[in-house]
């Protein structure tokens, strides 16, 4: 039986190297058999940086941040949807 794991957070960001490419809020990560899918509200975005590779999604926690590589992303208005690779 396929299982789905969903986690969420209040703040997050997309990074291109050390540059902040986007600031995200109210994000949700869903892990299915096909991998991780990120849905988030875009607070701010740098159009150039967000179009570069490699991009990483950063979810902060108490002692640092979890990181997932971004495989594909789409921004529609204030909503971002991305498919992510395995957590680094």
């Amino acid at each position: 039986m396929a299982s789905t794991v969903t986690i969420g957070g209040v703040t997050g960001s997309l990074r291109w190297g050390y540059h902040e490419a986007a600031v995200l809020a109210s994000w949700t990560l869903t892990n299915t058999t096909e991998g991780w899918t990120l849905t988030a509200t875009v607070v701010s975005v740098d159009a150039f940086r967000v179009s570069q590779h490699p991009l990483v999604f950063l979810a902060p926690h108490a002692s640092g941040a979890w990181r997932w590589p971004v495989k594909e992303l789409q921004i529609m208005g204030a909503t971002l949807t991305a498919s992510l690779g395995p957590k680094e």
Binding site: W16, G17, Y18, H19, Q52
Partner: protein, 175 residues
Amino acid sequence: MARCRFVQPDVVRLQLADVRKRAHEALVSKGVELPGNTFRPATDAEIAASATRVASAVEDGDWIDVKKELNAGESRKVYARLVKTMHFNEKAEIDPEQVGLSKVVAFLVGWSFVDAAGKTTPVSDGAINALDGDTYAEVVQAIDAHEEAGDAAREHRKNATGDESKSNQTLPSVA
């Protein structure tokens, strides 16, 4: 294929012990610098003290992560942060508090430094200003050496590919 003209956000790790190693090598080969760009030979005690400082830095194993290269916007920010006032046809007034610091802030992205509780501290203006004087000076020297090496490498690449001569060529107008 056209070359990419955008600076990639690559990071370089610099060992702080290398700063002391370079200072030690200069002390051994050139001696102690005196006013007027003159040197006197270093004494055995000075060389021994310098060697101890190198050994201590190697033992610490501290490092800093810096941007491989600043992009145009970051370079402008270094200059803008450094200048206090600037008026047309007048010399710019430099903010002495920002000398060295503006470049450190622009380049530095990470370090191995820990606080009193042994916790790694993120890089910030406040954390940089809270460093002890010797550590701050080593960070400045490490970044200066990194920048000089980068400038030299870019100059070499430019000369090797003849980019400079190409960029100075004026193409005939099609009009």
